[in-house]
Protein backbone atom coordinates (compact mmCIF):
# COMPACT_ATOMS: atom_id res chain seq x y z
CA UNK A 1 0.00 0.00 0.00
CA UNK A 2 2.91 2.32 0.70
CA UNK A 3 4.53 1.26 -2.56
CA UNK A 4 1.22 1.76 -4.24
CA UNK A 5 0.93 5.32 -2.99
CA UNK A 6 4.46 6.09 -4.11
CA UNK A 7 3.69 4.59 -7.49
CA UNK A 8 0.55 6.69 -7.85
CA UNK A 9 2.49 9.76 -6.78
CA UNK A 10 5.02 9.20 -9.53
CA UNK A 11 2.25 8.90 -12.06
CA UNK A 12 0.51 12.00 -10.75
CA UNK A 13 3.78 13.86 -11.04
CA UNK A 14 3.90 12.92 -14.71
CA UNK A 15 6.90 10.59 -14.36
CA UNK A 16 7.25 7.65 -16.72
CA UNK A 17 7.20 4.14 -15.30
CA UNK A 18 9.94 1.98 -16.80
CA UNK A 19 9.97 -1.84 -17.12
CA UNK A 20 12.44 -2.33 -14.25
CA UNK A 21 10.43 -0.15 -11.87
CA UNK A 22 8.08 -1.67 -9.37
CA UNK A 23 4.45 -1.65 -10.50
CA UNK A 24 1.18 -3.06 -9.20
CA UNK A 25 0.11 -6.39 -10.66
CA UNK A 26 -3.12 -4.83 -11.92
CA UNK A 27 -1.23 -2.11 -13.73
CA UNK A 28 0.97 -4.70 -15.43
CA UNK A 29 -1.98 -6.91 -16.29
CA UNK A 30 -4.08 -4.09 -17.67
CA UNK A 31 -1.19 -2.82 -19.74
CA UNK A 32 -0.41 -6.24 -21.17
CA UNK A 33 -4.03 -6.61 -22.17
CA UNK A 34 -4.23 -3.16 -23.67
CA UNK A 35 -0.90 -3.15 -25.50
CA UNK A 36 -1.35 -6.74 -26.64
CA UNK A 37 -4.80 -6.01 -27.96
CA UNK A 38 -3.46 -3.00 -29.78
CA UNK A 39 -0.63 -5.06 -31.29
CA UNK A 40 -3.06 -7.76 -32.37
CA UNK A 41 -5.22 -5.11 -33.98
CA UNK A 42 -2.31 -3.99 -36.11
CA UNK A 43 -1.69 -7.57 -37.22
CA UNK A 44 -5.27 -8.53 -37.95
CA UNK A 45 -5.74 -5.06 -39.42
CA UNK A 46 -3.50 -6.10 -42.28
CA UNK A 47 -6.19 -8.45 -43.55
CA UNK A 48 -9.04 -6.14 -44.57
CA UNK A 49 -6.60 -3.93 -46.46
CA UNK A 50 -4.59 -6.86 -47.75
CA UNK A 51 -7.87 -7.97 -49.30
CA UNK A 52 -7.53 -5.15 -51.85
CA UNK A 53 -3.79 -5.02 -52.45
CA UNK A 54 -4.02 -7.42 -55.34
CA UNK A 55 -6.85 -5.34 -56.81
CA UNK A 56 -5.40 -1.86 -56.31
CA UNK A 57 -6.36 0.17 -59.37
CA UNK A 58 -3.07 1.94 -60.07
CA UNK A 59 0.58 1.29 -59.34
CA UNK A 60 0.69 4.31 -57.07
CA UNK A 61 -2.36 3.20 -55.07
CA UNK A 62 -0.86 -0.26 -54.77
CA UNK A 63 2.39 1.22 -53.48
CA UNK A 64 0.58 3.45 -50.98
CA UNK A 65 -1.47 0.54 -49.69
CA UNK A 66 1.55 -1.74 -49.43
CA UNK A 67 3.44 0.92 -47.52
CA UNK A 68 0.53 1.35 -45.16
CA UNK A 69 0.14 -2.33 -44.46
CA UNK A 70 3.87 -2.59 -43.97
CA UNK A 71 3.67 0.22 -41.42
CA UNK A 72 0.93 -1.62 -39.60
CA UNK A 73 3.06 -4.72 -39.31
CA UNK A 74 5.81 -2.43 -38.03
CA UNK A 75 3.47 -0.98 -35.41
CA UNK A 76 2.63 -4.49 -34.35
CA UNK A 77 6.31 -5.12 -33.89
CA UNK A 78 6.92 -2.00 -31.71
CA UNK A 79 3.90 -2.81 -29.60
CA UNK A 80 4.84 -6.46 -29.07
CA UNK A 81 8.26 -5.21 -28.01
CA UNK A 82 6.65 -2.81 -25.55
CA UNK A 83 4.52 -5.64 -24.19
CA UNK A 84 7.57 -7.88 -23.90
CA UNK A 85 9.14 -5.42 -21.47
CA UNK A 86 6.27 -6.37 -19.15
CA UNK A 87 7.35 -10.01 -19.14
CA UNK A 88 5.19 -11.63 -21.78
CA UNK A 89 6.70 -12.96 -25.01
CA UNK A 90 5.45 -12.23 -28.49
CA UNK A 91 4.79 -15.92 -29.08
CA UNK A 92 2.67 -16.14 -25.92
CA UNK A 93 0.67 -13.13 -27.00
CA UNK A 94 0.27 -14.60 -30.47
CA UNK A 95 -1.01 -17.89 -29.09
CA UNK A 96 -3.55 -15.99 -27.03
CA UNK A 97 -4.73 -14.14 -30.12
CA UNK A 98 -4.98 -17.34 -32.12
CA UNK A 99 -7.00 -19.30 -29.61
CA UNK A 100 -9.30 -16.38 -28.88
CA UNK A 101 -8.15 -15.57 -25.33
CA UNK A 102 -7.09 -12.09 -26.43
CA UNK A 103 -9.08 -9.74 -28.62
CA UNK A 104 -8.29 -7.28 -31.37
CA UNK A 105 -10.23 -4.23 -32.44
CA UNK A 106 -13.69 -5.27 -33.59
CA UNK A 107 -13.56 -2.91 -36.55
CA UNK A 108 -11.44 -5.46 -38.37
CA UNK A 109 -14.26 -7.96 -38.24
CA UNK A 110 -16.08 -5.93 -40.86
CA UNK A 111 -15.40 -6.71 -44.50
CA UNK A 112 -13.85 -4.39 -47.08
CA UNK A 113 -16.21 -4.57 -50.02
CA UNK A 114 -15.18 -1.94 -52.50
CA UNK A 115 -12.11 0.10 -53.28
CA UNK A 116 -13.46 3.18 -51.48
CA UNK A 117 -13.18 1.15 -48.29
CA UNK A 118 -9.40 1.54 -48.61
CA UNK A 119 -9.88 5.28 -48.34
CA UNK A 120 -12.54 5.02 -45.65
CA UNK A 121 -10.44 2.69 -43.52
CA UNK A 122 -7.53 5.12 -43.58
CA UNK A 123 -9.68 8.16 -43.00
CA UNK A 124 -12.31 6.86 -40.54
CA UNK A 125 -10.70 3.87 -38.90
CA UNK A 126 -7.18 5.20 -38.61
CA UNK A 127 -8.73 8.55 -37.83
CA UNK A 128 -10.63 7.08 -34.90
CA UNK A 129 -7.57 5.14 -33.80
CA UNK A 130 -5.54 8.33 -33.72
CA UNK A 131 -8.11 10.01 -31.49
CA UNK A 132 -7.47 7.19 -29.06
CA UNK A 133 -3.75 7.13 -29.51
CA UNK A 134 -2.68 10.75 -29.49
CA UNK A 135 -3.39 11.16 -25.76
CA UNK A 136 -1.66 7.83 -25.13
CA UNK A 137 1.61 9.38 -26.18
CA UNK A 138 1.48 10.84 -22.67
CA UNK A 139 0.61 7.52 -21.02
CA UNK A 140 2.49 6.64 -17.84
CA UNK A 141 4.33 3.53 -19.09
CA UNK A 142 7.52 4.60 -20.83
CA UNK A 143 7.87 1.95 -23.57
CA UNK A 144 4.18 2.26 -24.43
CA UNK A 145 4.38 6.03 -24.59
CA UNK A 146 7.41 5.89 -26.87
CA UNK A 147 5.76 3.29 -29.13
CA UNK A 148 2.68 5.47 -29.40
CA UNK A 149 4.74 8.47 -30.44
CA UNK A 150 6.13 6.54 -33.40
CA UNK A 151 2.78 4.99 -34.22
CA UNK A 152 0.88 8.27 -34.15
CA UNK A 153 3.22 9.94 -36.57
CA UNK A 154 2.62 7.27 -39.17
CA UNK A 155 -1.07 6.90 -38.46
CA UNK A 156 -1.84 10.52 -39.14
CA UNK A 157 -0.04 10.16 -42.43
CA UNK A 158 -2.28 7.17 -43.21
CA UNK A 159 -5.38 9.09 -42.26
CA UNK A 160 -4.44 11.89 -44.63
CA UNK A 161 -3.73 9.42 -47.41
CA UNK A 162 -7.04 7.73 -46.72
CA UNK A 163 -8.88 11.00 -47.00
CA UNK A 164 -7.11 11.73 -50.25
CA UNK A 165 -8.11 8.32 -51.61
CA UNK A 166 -11.76 8.69 -50.72
CA UNK A 167 -11.82 12.26 -52.00
CA UNK A 168 -10.72 10.94 -55.35
CA UNK A 169 -13.64 8.51 -55.24
CA UNK A 170 -16.20 11.01 -53.96
CA UNK A 171 -15.33 13.41 -56.75
CA UNK A 172 -14.99 10.71 -59.40
CA UNK A 173 -17.47 8.94 -61.65
CA UNK A 174 -21.00 8.21 -60.36
CA UNK A 175 -19.95 4.60 -59.72
CA UNK A 176 -16.97 5.78 -57.69
CA UNK A 177 -19.10 8.21 -55.72
CA UNK A 178 -21.51 5.38 -55.01
CA UNK A 179 -18.64 3.28 -53.69
CA UNK A 180 -17.54 6.14 -51.45
CA UNK A 181 -21.03 6.61 -50.06
CA UNK A 182 -21.43 2.88 -49.52
CA UNK A 183 -18.12 2.75 -47.66
CA UNK A 184 -19.05 5.63 -45.37
CA UNK A 185 -22.48 4.17 -44.69
CA UNK A 186 -21.05 0.79 -43.75
CA UNK A 187 -18.10 2.00 -41.71
CA UNK A 188 -19.56 4.96 -39.81
CA UNK A 189 -21.15 3.14 -36.89
CA UNK A 190 -18.39 0.55 -36.58
CA UNK A 191 -15.94 3.48 -36.42
CA UNK A 192 -17.96 5.10 -33.61
CA UNK A 193 -17.92 1.80 -31.77
CA UNK A 194 -14.13 1.80 -31.83
CA UNK A 195 -14.18 4.16 -28.84
CA UNK A 196 -16.01 1.56 -26.79
CA UNK A 197 -19.31 1.80 -24.93
CA UNK A 198 -20.15 4.84 -22.91
CA UNK A 199 -17.87 5.09 -19.86
CA UNK A 200 -20.90 4.93 -17.63
CA UNK A 201 -21.05 1.26 -18.66
CA UNK A 202 -17.34 0.57 -18.43
CA UNK A 203 -15.90 -1.01 -15.30
CA UNK A 204 -12.17 -0.54 -15.80
CA UNK A 205 -12.19 3.08 -16.83
CA UNK A 206 -11.70 4.87 -13.52
CA UNK A 207 -8.67 2.88 -12.42
CA UNK A 208 -7.13 3.06 -15.90
CA UNK A 209 -7.54 6.80 -15.95
CA UNK A 210 -5.93 7.17 -12.55
CA UNK A 211 -3.00 5.12 -13.83
CA UNK A 212 -2.85 7.22 -17.00
CA UNK A 213 -3.27 4.13 -19.13
CA UNK A 214 -6.44 5.70 -20.40
CA UNK A 215 -6.37 9.43 -20.86
CA UNK A 216 -9.90 10.41 -21.87
CA UNK A 217 -13.38 9.00 -21.57
CA UNK A 218 -14.76 7.05 -24.51
CA UNK A 219 -17.55 9.56 -24.97
CA UNK A 220 -15.20 12.54 -25.06
CA UNK A 221 -13.13 10.93 -27.78
CA UNK A 222 -16.16 9.81 -29.76
CA UNK A 223 -17.61 13.34 -29.70
CA UNK A 224 -14.29 14.72 -30.84
CA UNK A 225 -14.22 12.25 -33.72
CA UNK A 226 -17.76 13.12 -34.78
CA UNK A 227 -17.04 16.84 -34.62
CA UNK A 228 -13.98 16.43 -36.77
CA UNK A 229 -15.46 14.00 -39.27
CA UNK A 230 -18.90 15.41 -40.04
CA UNK A 231 -17.55 18.52 -41.79
CA UNK A 232 -15.21 16.27 -43.78
CA UNK A 233 -18.12 14.17 -45.00
CA UNK A 234 -19.88 17.34 -46.04
CA UNK A 235 -16.74 18.61 -47.72
CA UNK A 236 -16.66 15.38 -49.74
CA UNK A 237 -20.21 16.04 -50.87
CA UNK A 238 -21.41 12.72 -49.46
CA UNK A 239 -24.64 12.13 -47.56
CA UNK A 240 -24.31 11.85 -43.83
CA UNK A 241 -24.52 8.17 -42.83
CA UNK A 242 -26.79 8.91 -39.85
CA UNK A 243 -30.04 10.89 -39.88
CA UNK A 244 -29.41 11.83 -36.28
CA UNK A 245 -26.40 14.00 -37.05
CA UNK A 246 -27.21 17.64 -36.33
CA UNK A 247 -25.19 20.62 -35.11
CA UNK A 248 -26.14 21.44 -31.55
CA UNK A 249 -25.52 25.13 -31.06
CA UNK A 250 -25.97 24.90 -27.33
CA UNK A 251 -23.45 22.12 -26.76
CA UNK A 252 -21.15 23.42 -29.46
CA UNK A 253 -20.98 19.85 -30.76
CA UNK A 254 -22.69 17.61 -33.27
CA UNK A 255 -25.44 15.41 -31.98
CA UNK A 256 -25.39 11.88 -33.42
CA UNK A 257 -27.22 8.59 -33.00
CA UNK A 258 -25.86 6.06 -30.58
CA UNK A 259 -24.53 2.98 -32.41
CA UNK A 260 -26.33 -0.32 -31.97
CA UNK A 261 -24.41 -1.65 -29.00
CA UNK A 262 -25.98 -5.08 -29.23
CA UNK A 263 -24.15 -5.42 -32.54
CA UNK A 264 -20.96 -4.34 -30.78
CA UNK A 265 -21.27 -7.03 -28.15
CA UNK A 266 -22.26 -9.57 -30.77
CA UNK A 267 -19.10 -8.88 -32.73
CA UNK A 268 -16.98 -9.10 -29.58
CA UNK A 269 -18.59 -12.45 -28.86
CA UNK A 270 -17.32 -13.69 -32.21
CA UNK A 271 -20.35 -13.03 -34.37
CA UNK A 272 -19.05 -10.25 -36.57
CA UNK A 273 -19.18 -10.72 -40.31
CA UNK A 274 -15.52 -11.73 -40.50
CA UNK A 275 -14.42 -12.94 -37.06
CA UNK A 276 -14.17 -16.56 -38.12
CA UNK A 277 -12.38 -15.88 -41.37
CA UNK A 278 -9.93 -13.39 -39.81
CA UNK A 279 -8.89 -15.78 -37.06
CA UNK A 280 -8.75 -18.66 -39.50
CA UNK A 281 -6.45 -16.65 -41.76
CA UNK A 282 -4.12 -15.82 -38.88
CA UNK A 283 -4.16 -19.39 -37.61
CA UNK A 284 -3.38 -20.70 -41.07
CA UNK A 285 -0.50 -18.27 -41.49
CA UNK A 286 0.90 -19.34 -38.14
CA UNK A 287 0.47 -23.05 -38.74
CA UNK A 288 1.76 -22.98 -42.32
CA UNK A 289 4.70 -20.91 -41.12
CA UNK A 290 5.77 -23.31 -38.40
CA UNK A 291 8.37 -25.05 -40.57
CA UNK A 292 9.81 -21.67 -41.56
CA UNK A 293 10.21 -20.50 -37.98
CA UNK A 294 11.63 -23.88 -36.99
CA UNK A 295 14.02 -23.90 -39.93
CA UNK A 296 15.36 -20.41 -39.35
CA UNK A 297 15.80 -21.09 -35.65
CA UNK A 298 17.64 -24.36 -36.30
CA UNK A 299 19.95 -22.60 -38.72
CA UNK A 300 20.65 -19.78 -36.30
CA UNK A 301 21.56 -22.32 -33.63
CA UNK A 302 23.86 -24.20 -35.98
CA UNK A 303 25.62 -21.00 -36.85
CA UNK A 304 25.97 -19.98 -33.24
CA UNK A 305 27.31 -23.42 -32.35
CA UNK A 306 29.78 -23.29 -35.21
CA UNK A 307 30.96 -19.91 -34.03
CA UNK A 308 31.48 -21.18 -30.49
CA UNK A 309 33.31 -24.22 -31.81
CA UNK A 310 35.58 -22.00 -33.89
CA UNK A 311 36.52 -19.87 -30.88
Amino acid sequence: PEKLAAFQARIDAGEKIEPKDWMPAGYRKTLIRQIGQHAHSEIVGQLPEGNWITRAPTLERKAILLAKVQDEAGHGLYLYCAAETLGVSRDELTEMLLDGRMKYSSIFNYPTLNWADMGAVGWLVDGAAIMNQVPLQRTSFGPYSRAMIRVCKEESFHARQGFDAIRKMATGTPAQKKMAQDAVNRLWFPALMMFGPSDADSVHSTQSMAWKIKMNTNDELRQKFVDQTVPQIEFLGLDLPDDGIKWNEERGHYDYSDPDWSEFFDVIKGNGPCNTDRLAARNKAWKDGQWVRDGLLAHARKKAAAKVAAE
Binding site: Q46, T58, L59, L66, V69, W115, M169, D288, W291, G295
Partner: protein
Protein backbone atom coordinates in the same frame (compact mmCIF):
# COMPACT_ATOMS: atom_id res chain seq x y z
CA UNK B 1 5.83 -14.08 -89.77
CA UNK B 2 6.50 -10.72 -88.12
CA UNK B 3 8.04 -7.74 -89.88
CA UNK B 4 11.60 -6.93 -88.82
CA UNK B 5 11.88 -5.03 -85.57
CA UNK B 6 12.70 -1.36 -85.59
CA UNK B 7 15.17 -0.21 -82.95
CA UNK B 8 12.40 1.59 -81.16
CA UNK B 9 10.15 -1.46 -81.10
CA UNK B 10 13.01 -3.54 -79.76
CA UNK B 11 13.67 -0.98 -77.05
CA UNK B 12 9.98 -0.97 -76.14
CA UNK B 13 9.99 -4.77 -75.88
CA UNK B 14 13.10 -4.68 -73.75
CA UNK B 15 11.54 -2.19 -71.36
CA UNK B 16 8.37 -4.25 -71.12
CA UNK B 17 10.47 -7.25 -70.17
CA UNK B 18 12.11 -5.32 -67.36
CA UNK B 19 8.87 -3.72 -66.17
CA UNK B 20 6.65 -6.79 -66.48
CA UNK B 21 9.10 -8.82 -64.42
CA UNK B 22 8.94 -6.39 -61.54
CA UNK B 23 5.20 -5.85 -61.96
CA UNK B 24 4.24 -9.50 -61.89
CA UNK B 25 6.72 -10.52 -59.22
CA UNK B 26 5.68 -7.52 -57.13
CA UNK B 27 2.09 -8.65 -57.45
CA UNK B 28 2.88 -12.21 -56.44
CA UNK B 29 4.85 -11.07 -53.43
CA UNK B 30 2.06 -8.71 -52.41
CA UNK B 31 -0.32 -11.67 -52.23
CA UNK B 32 1.44 -12.63 -49.00
CA UNK B 33 0.28 -9.54 -47.20
CA UNK B 34 -0.90 -10.50 -43.72
CA UNK B 35 -0.21 -14.21 -44.20
CA UNK B 36 3.55 -14.54 -43.67
CA UNK B 37 5.06 -17.04 -41.22
CA UNK B 38 6.36 -14.35 -38.91
CA UNK B 39 5.88 -10.61 -38.53
CA UNK B 40 9.35 -9.70 -39.76
CA UNK B 41 8.60 -11.56 -42.97
CA UNK B 42 5.32 -9.74 -43.43
CA UNK B 43 7.30 -6.52 -43.29
CA UNK B 44 10.08 -7.76 -45.53
CA UNK B 45 7.72 -9.14 -48.17
CA UNK B 46 5.68 -5.95 -48.23
CA UNK B 47 8.91 -4.01 -48.57
CA UNK B 48 10.09 -6.14 -51.48
CA UNK B 49 6.74 -5.82 -53.23
CA UNK B 50 6.82 -2.08 -52.69
CA UNK B 51 10.28 -1.75 -54.22
CA UNK B 52 9.24 -3.86 -57.20
CA UNK B 53 6.13 -1.80 -57.81
CA UNK B 54 8.20 1.36 -57.64
CA UNK B 55 10.63 -0.08 -60.17
CA UNK B 56 7.70 -1.01 -62.38
CA UNK B 57 6.59 2.61 -62.45
CA UNK B 58 10.00 3.59 -63.80
CA UNK B 59 10.36 0.82 -66.38
CA UNK B 60 6.83 0.92 -67.70
CA UNK B 61 6.80 4.71 -67.55
CA UNK B 62 9.80 4.77 -69.85
CA UNK B 63 8.26 2.03 -72.00
CA UNK B 64 5.20 4.20 -72.52
CA UNK B 65 7.40 7.13 -73.56
CA UNK B 66 9.35 5.01 -76.00
CA UNK B 67 6.20 3.53 -77.46
CA UNK B 68 4.97 7.03 -78.15
CA UNK B 69 1.24 6.31 -78.02
CA UNK B 70 0.64 8.37 -74.93
CA UNK B 71 0.31 5.38 -72.63
CA UNK B 72 1.14 5.66 -68.94
CA UNK B 73 2.76 2.98 -66.82
CA UNK B 74 -0.73 2.28 -65.43
CA UNK B 75 -2.17 1.85 -68.91
CA UNK B 76 0.49 -0.71 -69.68
CA UNK B 77 0.10 -2.50 -66.38
CA UNK B 78 -3.66 -2.65 -66.24
CA UNK B 79 -4.90 -2.73 -69.81
CA UNK B 80 -2.90 -5.42 -71.58
CA UNK B 81 -4.02 -9.03 -71.74
CA UNK B 82 -1.86 -12.12 -71.27
CA UNK B 83 -0.28 -12.26 -74.74
CA UNK B 84 1.12 -8.75 -74.45
CA UNK B 85 3.04 -9.44 -71.27
CA UNK B 86 6.78 -9.97 -71.54
CA UNK B 87 7.78 -11.18 -68.08
CA UNK B 88 9.74 -14.34 -67.41
CA UNK B 89 7.55 -17.35 -66.68
CA UNK B 90 9.46 -17.67 -63.40
CA UNK B 91 7.79 -14.65 -61.85
CA UNK B 92 4.23 -15.69 -62.66
CA UNK B 93 4.26 -19.13 -61.04
CA UNK B 94 2.07 -19.22 -57.92
CA UNK B 95 3.52 -18.61 -54.48
CA UNK B 96 2.52 -22.10 -53.30
CA UNK B 97 4.35 -21.81 -49.97
CA UNK B 98 6.92 -19.58 -48.33
CA UNK B 99 9.73 -21.81 -49.53
CA UNK B 100 8.83 -21.52 -53.18
CA UNK B 101 8.22 -17.80 -52.80
CA UNK B 102 11.65 -17.18 -51.35
CA UNK B 103 13.42 -19.52 -53.74
CA UNK B 104 11.75 -17.79 -56.68
CA UNK B 105 12.78 -14.46 -55.23
CA UNK B 106 16.37 -15.59 -54.86
CA UNK B 107 16.58 -17.05 -58.36
CA UNK B 108 15.18 -13.81 -59.74
CA UNK B 109 17.17 -11.43 -57.51
CA UNK B 110 20.41 -13.11 -58.55
CA UNK B 111 19.68 -12.49 -62.22
CA UNK B 112 18.21 -9.07 -61.55
CA UNK B 113 21.23 -7.80 -59.68
CA UNK B 114 23.64 -8.97 -62.38
CA UNK B 115 21.44 -7.51 -65.11
CA UNK B 116 21.18 -4.15 -63.36
CA UNK B 117 24.94 -4.09 -62.90
CA UNK B 118 25.28 -4.19 -66.67
CA UNK B 119 22.44 -1.77 -67.29
CA UNK B 120 24.13 0.86 -65.14
CA UNK B 121 26.58 1.11 -68.04
CA UNK B 122 23.85 1.27 -70.67
CA UNK B 123 24.33 3.60 -73.62
CA UNK B 124 20.79 4.82 -72.92
CA UNK B 125 21.07 7.33 -70.07
CA UNK B 126 17.49 6.83 -68.98
CA UNK B 127 18.06 3.13 -68.53
CA UNK B 128 21.37 3.65 -66.80
CA UNK B 129 19.66 6.03 -64.41
CA UNK B 130 16.87 3.58 -63.53
CA UNK B 131 19.42 0.81 -63.07
CA UNK B 132 21.50 2.98 -60.77
CA UNK B 133 18.46 3.92 -58.72
CA UNK B 134 17.10 0.41 -58.39
CA UNK B 135 20.26 -1.62 -58.03
CA UNK B 136 20.68 -0.71 -54.38
CA UNK B 137 17.24 -2.05 -53.58
CA UNK B 138 17.91 -5.19 -55.55
CA UNK B 139 21.24 -5.78 -53.86
CA UNK B 140 19.38 -5.72 -50.61
CA UNK B 141 16.69 -8.08 -51.93
CA UNK B 142 19.38 -10.51 -53.00
CA UNK B 143 21.12 -10.38 -49.66
CA UNK B 144 17.87 -11.09 -47.90
CA UNK B 145 16.57 -13.82 -50.17
CA UNK B 146 19.97 -15.54 -50.24
CA UNK B 147 20.17 -15.47 -46.44
CA UNK B 148 16.69 -16.91 -46.14
CA UNK B 149 17.38 -19.63 -48.69
CA UNK B 150 20.49 -20.58 -46.74
CA UNK B 151 18.68 -20.42 -43.41
CA UNK B 152 15.87 -22.66 -44.57
CA UNK B 153 17.94 -24.97 -46.76
CA UNK B 154 20.35 -25.53 -43.90
CA UNK B 155 17.67 -25.45 -41.17
CA UNK B 156 15.67 -28.53 -40.22
CA UNK B 157 15.22 -31.62 -42.38
CA UNK B 158 11.69 -30.43 -43.06
CA UNK B 159 12.69 -26.94 -44.12
CA UNK B 160 15.43 -28.45 -46.28
CA UNK B 161 12.83 -30.59 -48.06
CA UNK B 162 10.59 -27.61 -48.68
CA UNK B 163 13.46 -25.70 -50.23
CA UNK B 164 14.69 -28.59 -52.35
CA UNK B 165 11.16 -29.17 -53.63
CA UNK B 166 10.92 -25.47 -54.46
CA UNK B 167 14.23 -25.51 -56.28
CA UNK B 168 13.28 -28.62 -58.25
CA UNK B 169 9.99 -27.05 -59.27
CA UNK B 170 11.50 -23.70 -60.25
CA UNK B 171 14.67 -24.89 -61.94
CA UNK B 172 13.07 -25.37 -65.39
CA UNK B 173 12.06 -21.72 -65.26
CA UNK B 174 15.62 -20.46 -64.77
CA UNK B 175 16.95 -21.03 -68.27
CA UNK B 176 14.57 -18.53 -69.87
CA UNK B 177 16.53 -15.67 -68.31
CA UNK B 178 19.47 -16.48 -70.56
CA UNK B 179 17.78 -17.00 -73.91
CA UNK B 180 18.46 -14.43 -76.62
CA UNK B 181 16.33 -13.27 -79.51
CA UNK B 182 16.27 -10.42 -82.04
CA UNK B 183 15.19 -7.95 -79.35
CA UNK B 184 18.28 -8.79 -77.35
CA UNK B 185 20.48 -8.65 -80.43
CA UNK B 186 19.22 -5.14 -81.12
CA UNK B 187 19.91 -4.13 -77.51
CA UNK B 188 23.43 -5.52 -77.64
CA UNK B 189 24.12 -3.80 -80.93
CA UNK B 190 22.97 -0.46 -79.54
CA UNK B 191 24.97 -0.93 -76.36
CA UNK B 192 21.77 -0.67 -74.36
CA UNK B 193 21.76 -4.05 -72.63
CA UNK B 194 23.94 -7.14 -72.43
CA UNK B 195 23.28 -10.38 -74.25
CA UNK B 196 21.26 -12.48 -71.77
CA UNK B 197 23.39 -15.52 -72.47
CA UNK B 198 26.46 -13.60 -71.34
CA UNK B 199 25.11 -13.36 -67.78
CA UNK B 200 24.87 -17.08 -67.25
CA UNK B 201 28.42 -17.68 -66.02
CA UNK B 202 28.21 -15.05 -63.27
CA UNK B 203 24.75 -16.28 -62.37
CA UNK B 204 25.85 -19.87 -62.03
CA UNK B 205 28.72 -18.92 -59.77
CA UNK B 206 26.47 -16.82 -57.59
CA UNK B 207 23.66 -19.31 -57.15
CA UNK B 208 26.00 -22.25 -56.80
CA UNK B 209 27.72 -20.56 -53.87
CA UNK B 210 24.45 -19.80 -52.10
CA UNK B 211 22.71 -23.09 -52.85
CA UNK B 212 25.76 -25.04 -51.73
CA UNK B 213 25.79 -23.16 -48.45
CA UNK B 214 22.08 -23.97 -48.25
CA UNK B 215 22.99 -27.68 -48.67
CA UNK B 216 20.66 -27.85 -51.69
CA UNK B 217 21.24 -29.77 -54.90
CA UNK B 218 20.92 -28.00 -58.23
CA UNK B 219 18.90 -30.30 -60.53
CA UNK B 220 20.96 -31.99 -63.21
CA UNK B 221 18.96 -30.71 -66.18
CA UNK B 222 19.23 -27.79 -68.50
CA UNK B 223 15.68 -28.04 -69.78
CA UNK B 224 14.08 -24.62 -69.82
CA UNK B 225 10.48 -23.49 -70.25
CA UNK B 226 10.20 -20.56 -72.62
CA UNK B 227 7.61 -18.18 -73.92
CA UNK B 228 7.22 -15.54 -71.22
CA UNK B 229 9.72 -12.92 -72.33
CA UNK B 230 8.64 -13.26 -75.96
CA UNK B 231 4.95 -13.55 -75.04
CA UNK B 232 4.62 -16.67 -77.20
CA UNK B 233 3.32 -18.86 -74.41
CA UNK B 234 2.73 -17.82 -70.83
CA UNK B 235 1.56 -20.20 -68.13
CA UNK B 236 -2.11 -20.55 -67.30
CA UNK B 237 -1.36 -18.76 -64.04
CA UNK B 238 -0.86 -15.32 -65.55
CA UNK B 239 -4.45 -15.00 -66.77
CA UNK B 240 -5.77 -15.70 -63.29
CA UNK B 241 -3.41 -13.16 -61.79
CA UNK B 242 -4.62 -10.50 -64.22
CA UNK B 243 -8.27 -11.03 -63.29
CA UNK B 244 -7.40 -9.65 -59.87
CA UNK B 245 -4.75 -7.15 -60.81
CA UNK B 246 -6.75 -5.49 -63.54
CA UNK B 247 -10.24 -5.84 -62.10
CA UNK B 248 -11.00 -2.23 -61.22
CA UNK B 249 -9.48 -0.75 -64.35
CA UNK B 250 -11.41 -3.21 -66.48
CA UNK B 251 -14.70 -2.86 -64.61
CA UNK B 252 -14.59 0.95 -64.46
CA UNK B 253 -12.79 2.08 -67.58
CA UNK B 254 -11.73 5.68 -67.75
CA UNK B 255 -12.10 6.39 -64.04
CA UNK B 256 -9.35 8.15 -62.19
CA UNK B 257 -8.22 6.68 -58.88
Amino acid sequence: MAAPLTDNEALFQFLLRMGDNTLILGHRVSEWCGHAPVLEEDIALANTALDLIGQTQMWLGLAGEVQGEGKSADDLAFLRDVWDFRNLLLVEVPNEDFGRTLMRQFLFDAWHSIQLGHLMKSSDDRIAAIAAKTSKEVTYHLERSADTVVGLGDGTAQSHDFMQTALDYLWPYVGEMFTSDPVDAAMVKAGIAPDPASLRADYDVLIKRVLTEATLTIPDSDFAHKGGRTGAMHTEHLGHLLTHMQWLQRAYPGASW
